[in-house]
């Protein structure tokens, strides 16, 4: 009898979750349709903005998801690494190579910056892992989490010293202007964001699914001790994962700095949280999920900020975090994730 009522409870819960999900989706679609009818071309434009935000979030979200997937740590410092990447790119392009406008030389430097910032951020991330998180791998879970928060603050300090306390604006070496698709403006910067991000995402998928390193990563994520017994270099694999995540954050930093033209020491904290929400939305630990979640969050945020009927930009963060909280309550495993139980 009790068993049945337990099952019944589960079924009820599932039905409730589904109804709730459908209700939210219905409200969302209603809101979108009203806006679409009211201002179709604006709708298309903010959708594009949302998409280009989304790919940026995806780059950061992947770093969270990679690290969480392998050592179950929310790396709070990851967003700040993105901020550091932006600062590095700004200095690299504008101050060290004196490129402040769109030119062939500028594009070359942009390409050099892309490679340098990946190496730089990967290095920083590996350094953090080596000297902070590695020592705490077997400590109670609270310890590495608190450490990550501390590291986040320390990186923000570096940003504060490097960038100053205010926002700094920079000239981009990317071409200005946009192509017109009918009545919809498609900025070049958005196109370039896609052109940089998509190959990187494909390369990442290849690395994780096809290479030896990728297999080692997945094995380590499953069971560290067993992997060690099978001759996998667990420390090396974890460091490699941090390097991958760092490199992606670096790319995101460069793209953000070049497309928005600004840097600020606390950017990483804000965008990092949004990116983490994306990772959770997609199902943390799941790479495709992170990209999907990031694009959804980017879209929702873009639409909320830009549409005539919406809460507007000053509620942007509240909207994103409300999604996070609702998600945690009703579907903590995310869209593509799966629930796991603890081993005894």
């Amino acid at each position: 009898m009790a068993n049945k009522s337990y099952k019944a409870r589960q079924v009820r819960r599932a039905i409730f979750e589904r109804t709730f999900g459908i209700a939210i989706l219905a409200m969302l679609s209603f809101w979108l349709i009203v806006n679409l009818i009211k201002a179709p071309s604006q709708f298309a434009e903010v959708t594009l903005i949302g998409l280009s935000n989304g790919v940026l979030y995806a780059l950061i979200a992947l770093g969270y998801t990679l690290v969480y997937g392998i050592i179950e740590l929310i790396n709070f410092a990851h967003g700040d690494l993105f901020m550091l990447g932006g600062l590095f790119s700004a200095h690299f392009i504008a101050l060290w190579f004196h490129q402040t406008k769109s030119s062939p030389m500028g594009w070359l430097v942009f390409f050099l910056a892309l490679i340098s910032v990946m190496v730089f951020c990967a290095g920083v991330n590996v350094f953090i892992e080596r000297f902070a998180y590695r020592r705490l791998r077997r400590a109670p879970k609270l310890a590495p989490l608190i450490t990550a928060v501390g590291v986040s603050f320390m990186i923000q300090f570096v940003g504060l010293r490097w960038n100053g306390s205010g926002q700094k604006t920079w000239n981009s070496v990317l071409p200005h202007g946009s192509v017109m698709l009918g009545s919809v403006k498609l900025p070049y910067t958005t196109l370039i964001s896609f052109a940089v991000t998509i190959p990187i995402l494909i390369a990442l998928t290849f690395i994780v699914t096809k290479t030896r390193q990728g297999k080692a990563m997945r094995a380590t994520a499953q069971d560290q001790d067993a992997s060690r017994l099978m001759g996998i270099n667990v420390n090396g694999t974890i460091a490699f994962t941090f390097a991958l995540g760092g490199a992606l954050a670096g790319v995101a930093g460069l793209l953000f700095q070049q497309t928005r033209g600004l840097t600020s020491y606390n950017l990483g904290y804000q965008l990092g949280l949004i990116a983490f929400t994306s990772a959770v939305l997609g199902g943390i630990g799941n790479l495709q999920g992170a990209v999907l979640g990031a694009i959804l969050i980017g879209l929702i945020q873009g639409l909320n900020d830009g549409l005539p009927i919406g809460l507007g930009q000053q509620w942007s963060q509240t909207v994103v975090f409300s999604i996070l909280i609702l998600l945690m309550v009703f579907k903590p495993a995310g869209l593509l994730g799966k629930q796991v139980t603890e081993k005894v």
Binding site: G150, M154, T318, I325
Partner: protein, 392 residues
């Protein structure tokens, strides 16, 4: 059985004696500080006075006590129950705005007075400080349960994230709260100021009655200490610690996880609300931009520095960090810059300092700066016991 019963009693006495020693000495120190600033400060030489103004101004002392109240609240959540709450600032904000709503002329549409000493003609809601504190605690506790109930069944790191999001949303709601559907909830970025004076013994405490405020804040902090220690020693405190140590084993020993965690979260939120209301009376206003993430982190650093779950350690951690934050860094900076003719912006180093404390403590001294006093006491007790059994 009878013998062990006696021994038990002795130990209890010893334990409470040690706590009493702490309590008495802290009270004496507090009274001495109060007496010094109230009666003797004016009579001291100018040099001494200016030294205090630079290194230990009375307002910093009061502010540190506010931090102690909140840090002890967070200590219950993080230190006792092991739930990482990164959005404690939200409860602080609730407490603050409760004071703003019920202790000022903010709601000028109405004119409600109850137990407050402000003039009856001033519009707004004016309730007694003590009543407001209870309301603030209840509101914060209520929201603590609202946010905690659904999230506490998740894994601990998810909780950290949800609370972080919560700590972002609430201040944003207050910052944007000037016009929520035509209703002014929070006066937006302008904030609510001034707050009614606290009334004690028929006396209204103005902004310069720091000595009286010091005594009130000290009393509240002492209450927090008392409550923390009492709970720690009882059934609930043991359950919290067990959950912190090993959640699964705790549930296998009959501890209901959800309810126990939720209690910890609610008690923490409750004290956060008190802290917020007290802070509002300390700065004589509520300003939305003050409720930011760094408050949550500073509180966490206080708890970590003092040793999670170690009440006396957390008090010391809170006093130390609050002093550094409010006075220490600027004062050290000025002295350093004047001596070496440099222009280093010391207060901007607080990010490094608080972040560094979190990292270094976690890496090298996870038990905090104060070693657990219990250990020492117990080793002595074992000596006694060995002597006793020898005599049988």
């Amino acid at each position: 059985m009878a013998i062990s019963f006696l021994k038990r009693g002795e130990k209890k006495q010893k334990q409470s004696a040690s706590a009493r020693k702490w309590a008495i000495s802290l009270t004496l120190i507090a009274l001495a500080i109060w007496a010094f600033f109230t009666y003797f400060f004016d009579k001291t030489p100018d040099a001494v006075q200016s030294w205090f103004q630079v290194w230990l101004p009375p307002s910093t002392i009061n502010e540190s006590l506010v931090w102690v109240i909140c840090a002890l609240g967070l200590n219950i959540v993080v230190g006792y129950a092991g739930l990482l709450d990164l959005g404690f600032v939200a409860f602080w904000a609730f407490g603050g705005y409760t004071a703003g709503w019920f202790m000022s002329g903010f709601f000028h549409q109405v004119n409600i007075h109850f137990g407050s000493m402000s003039a009856k003609v001033i519009p707004g809601i004016h309730l007694s400080f003590w009543l407001v504190m209870i309301i603030a605690a209840l509101i914060a506790g209520f929201f603590g349960i609202i946010i905690g109930a659904p999230t506490l069944r998740l894994k601990s790191d998810y909780l950290a994230l949800v609370t972080l999001g919560f700590g972002e949303i609430i201040p944003q709601v207050f910052t944007n709260g000037e016009n929520i559907g035509g209703f002014n909830l929070s006066n937006g970025t302008k904030g609510i100021s001034p707050i009614d004076a606290i009334g004690v013994f028929g006396k209204r405490l103005g902004p310069f009655d720091l000595g009286w405020k010091f005594l009130i804040y000290f009393f509240l902090a002492a209450c927090m200490v008392f409550v923390s220690l009492r709970i720690r020693g009882g059934r609930l405190g043991r359950a919290w610690l067990a959950i912190r140590e090993d959640e699964l084993a705790a549930s296998m020993m009959g501890v209901p996880l959800m309810r126990t965690k939720l209690t910890a979260y609610a008690v923490g939120a409750f004290s956060g609300g008190i802290g917020g209301a007290v802070y509002a009376t300390h700065v004589n206003g509520i300003f939305a931009e003050r409720f930011n993430f760094s408050i949550s982190i500073i509180l966490l650093a206080m708890v970590v520095l003092g040793g999670m779950g170690n009440v006396w350690g957390v008090i010391i951690g809170a006093l130390l960090m609050a002093w550094i934050n409010a006075t220490g860094l600027p004062a050290i900076g000025d002295t350093f810059n004047n001596t070496f003719h440099t222009a280093i912006n010391f207060p901007s180093y607080n990010f490094l300092l608080f972040g560094g404390i979190l990292v270094l403590m976690m890496l090298f001294k996870r038990d905090g700066i104060l070693p657990e006093a219990r250990l020492k006491m117990i080793s002595h007790e074992n000596d006694d016991e060995a002597a006793n059994t020898g005599g049988h």
